[in-house]
């Protein structure tokens, strides 16, 4: 795979080297996006907020960069269409071989694009070349003054990383300029984990920090803000609905959207079902899929839980499908935690009715790090351990972090 990303406003750029075709020089960019290398850099920064590994997948429809978090409850993908590049050669897929894909350590990749201002100022062309035989991913930045930075990164082969989601099947859709949402989330503490989006009377949309039930009302700070329907570009929501998602992971996408000046579309459905954020451009497609907190009272699809009743859930409805239950069993030490709110399943359509055997598909993409800690912090921490930053800390622990309690 080989691709060349046009640079920005850099003078003194050298011409293409031998073997590199060039396309006509006008920027293949829409009015939204300016120079391409910083866009790639910002995408990497966004992805770095999600996971520790960056998956690169060249396809016929473009180069896809993806990341998943360790608890499999957040997935992001940036698809750069061939037009984004000055040159795009995904490589050839034979009848039996697929296009080569790989994953690299996020830190290594991020290090190359660490300084966004300098990317803007001094980087012209960026060349990405995958050398399977040398086991190296080559990133070459052509900078100001004719300087060339070449990074040879080690990569690992990997399975396809894909979260299955369907924006069409979501009941509610919102579209807003990134600026609006950025201005809204600024009111919440930076460390706040979850936030609840709700639809209220008169078409108003609310954002409220999520507070777990056990927290003492008198010691908790609640921030709530309301946005009028006309501040959004489009609103098609189920009245009286609400959904809780991880704000931290969303912030990464939000910075990208703001910088690229693209409107953000939000698709959501019932609590517990994944929430999808999308950004669309002629040369770029961005998706962020986040698992959402399941409602305790809601009657979401009752799964075949296999009668694994030693997970003392307050209600079995908490677990939405078998897969997340399996995850809970892997992750929940001592089996005493409540079942987690569901992660969206990878490789399976939602809702899941599949057999445990089908889990083999995701083996290839399983990162080495044990997920349970982070996972817990997303959905358990908020329920189990009050006193995390962002919520008023209580002196006493309201929920022990070990066996035999609920």
């Amino acid at each position: 795979m080989k691709c060349v990303i046009a640079g920005g406003n850099v003078k003194g750029e050298r011409g293409l080297g031998p073997g590199e075709r060039s396309v006509p020089a006008e920027p293949c960019l829409t009015p939204h996006t300016l120079s391409s290398s910083p866009v790639l850099g910002r995408a990497v920064h966004s992805l770095s907020r999600i996971g520790d590994e960056l998956y690169l997948e060249p396809t016929e429809s473009g180069l896809s960069l993806r990341a998943v978090n360790s608890s499999r409850s957040g997935f992001a993908s940036f698809l750069f269409a061939p037009l984004f590049f000055q040159l795009y050669e995904p490589g050839s897929a034979g009848p039996e071989t697929e296009l080569f894909r790989c994953k690299v350590h996020m830190k290594s990749f991020l290090g190359i694009f660490r300084s966004l201002p300098s990317l803007e100022k001094s980087v012209g062309k960026c060349l990405i070349l995958l050398k399977p035989r040398a086991s190296r991913l080559v990133l070459q930045l052509h900078c100001k003054y004719g300087v060339t930075k070449t990074h040879n990164l080690a990569f690992q082969e990997c399975e396809r990383l894909q979260a299955v989601f369907d924006t069409q099947s979501c009941a509610s859709h919102l579209c807003a300029p990134a600026r609006l949402l950025a201005d809204a989330v600024v009111h919440f503490p930076p460390m706040l984990a979850e936030v609840t989006l709700g639809t209220g009377p008169g078409g108003k949309i609310s954002l409220r920090n999520y507070v777990e039930d056990e927290a003492e009302p008198s010691k908790t700070m609640v921030t709530e803000l309301w946005l009028a329907e006309d501040e959004f570009q489009s609103v098609a929501v189920t009245p009286g609905s609400h959904i809780t998602f991880c704000l931290k992971e969303f912030r990464g996408l939000l910075s990208f959207a703001e910088a690229s000046n693209l409107p953000l579309t939000i698709h959501f459905d019932e609590p517990g079902r994944p929430m999808i954020f999308t950004l669309d451009d002629t040369v770029l497609e961005v998706h962020l899929v986040l698992a959402t907190l399941s409602d305790l009272q809601s009657n979401s699809q009752s799964p075949s839980t296999n009668g694994v009743s030693h997970l003392p859930a307050p209600s079995d409805d908490f677990a939405d499908d078998l897969e997340s239950y399996m995850v809970a069993m892997e992750t929940g030490e001592g089996d005493s935690e409540r079942a987690p709110s569901p992660t969206f399943p990878l490789h399976t359509p939602w809702p899941a009715q599949r057999e445990p055997e089908e889990e083999k598909e995701e083996e290839g993409a399983v990162p080495g790090t044990p997920p349970h800690k982070k996972f817990r912090s997303l959905f358990f921490g908020s329920v189990m351990t009050p006193g995390r930053p962002g919520v008023a800390t209580t002196q006493e622990v309201l929920a022990e972090d070990s066996e035999g309690e609920s």
Partner: protein, 281 residues
């Protein structure tokens, strides 16, 4: 404003006495070589040289020539002593490191000779501080025997082009490899870290290249931890000259313009790393 210290007792004259209107002319240069606690100071009629060494592999020298000072007098041919550079810097910046425009700390420095402490008189806004810093027996300094006749490759670059590169060096790499060649890649900085290798290439016709005199292809490796402190000197400088000799010894000379536009120099000498392993590409 300069002011004079009381004369030494019994009419003796100081072995070294100097006045400087703006102590920053001295302190900023000393910071550029401050990677060890102690330094050796050598004062001659031409000026002051402050030397810092580490691991018997690296030596940095800051030169503040006599013309920078408002007054500079050395009694003997040369005066040499070892002193705590950390303490010296703390004293020179005793009124704070950030300065309001228009204000500066005035300095008077006196040294009576072997065995005596270095006296500093610092004044800013009417407030005077007197410091006495103990001196020690000077160390024997490394002699890299680096002279212009032995230089194999030499380039002069505008510092602007290197600053970011040095600041972002992959510190997980043990070495910094420097390649200088009359052919491609001309001038290359390479690191071999945990993530993989990284190469930074500067072409000979780059706008940044002020002079390019490479006669032979040389690739040398230096311990990155030893060279990293030179980033401070690079940050202050406007130009840097990079030279290597036949043994692979590296000389980095930084041209620094101070607030008054005067030129000072800082140089770093470094031995090549003995553990040669195959370079990754």
């Amino acid at each position: 404003m300069p002011f004079s210290a009381p004369p030494a007792a019994s009419g003796e004259r100081y072995a070294l006495s100097a006045s400087l209107d703006n102590a920053r002319h001295l302190s900023s240069l000393l910071r550029a070589v401050h990677f060890q606690d102690h330094a050796t100071c050598l004062a001659t009629a031409s000026g002051l040289r402050v030397t810092v060494e580490d691991a018997k592999c690296i030596q940095a020298n800051a030169f503040i020539q006599a013309e920078i000072f408002q007054e500079f007098s050395v009694q003997e041919e040369s005066v040499m002593f070892r002193i705590s550079l950390s303490v010296l810097l703390d004293c020179l910046t005793i009124f704070g490191t950030s300065s309001l425009p228009g204000t500066s700390t005035a300095l008077r420095m006196c040294y009576r000779g072997y065995g005596y402490p270095l006296m500093l008189f610092l004044e800013e806004g009417g407030v005077v501080t007197v410091c006495k810093i103990n001196t020690q027996e000077p160390d024997e300094l490394l002699d890299f025997d680096f002279c212009s006749t032995k230089v194999v490759n030499k380039i002069i670059l505008q510092s602007e082009g290197l600053r970011e590169a040095f600041a972002e060096l992959d510190m997980t790499s043990e070495v910094l490899q420097i390649t200088m060649s009359p052919d491609k890649p001309y001038f290359r900085l390479s690191t071999f870290g945990n993530a993989g290798s990284a190469h930074l290439d500067y072409p000979r016709d780059s706008d940044l290249m002020e002079a390019f005199h490479c006669s032979q292809t040389q690739t040398n490796r230096y311990k990155i931890s030893l060279l990293k402190p030179s980033t401070k000197a690079l940050a202050l400088s406007c130009k840097v000259s990079i030279r290597t000799d036949a043994q692979g010894f590296l000389s980095l000379q930084y041209m620094i313009r101070n607030e008054d536009g005067q030129i000072c120099f800082v140089e770093y000498y470094c031995c090549p790393d003995e553990n040669i392993t195959e370079a990754e590409l």
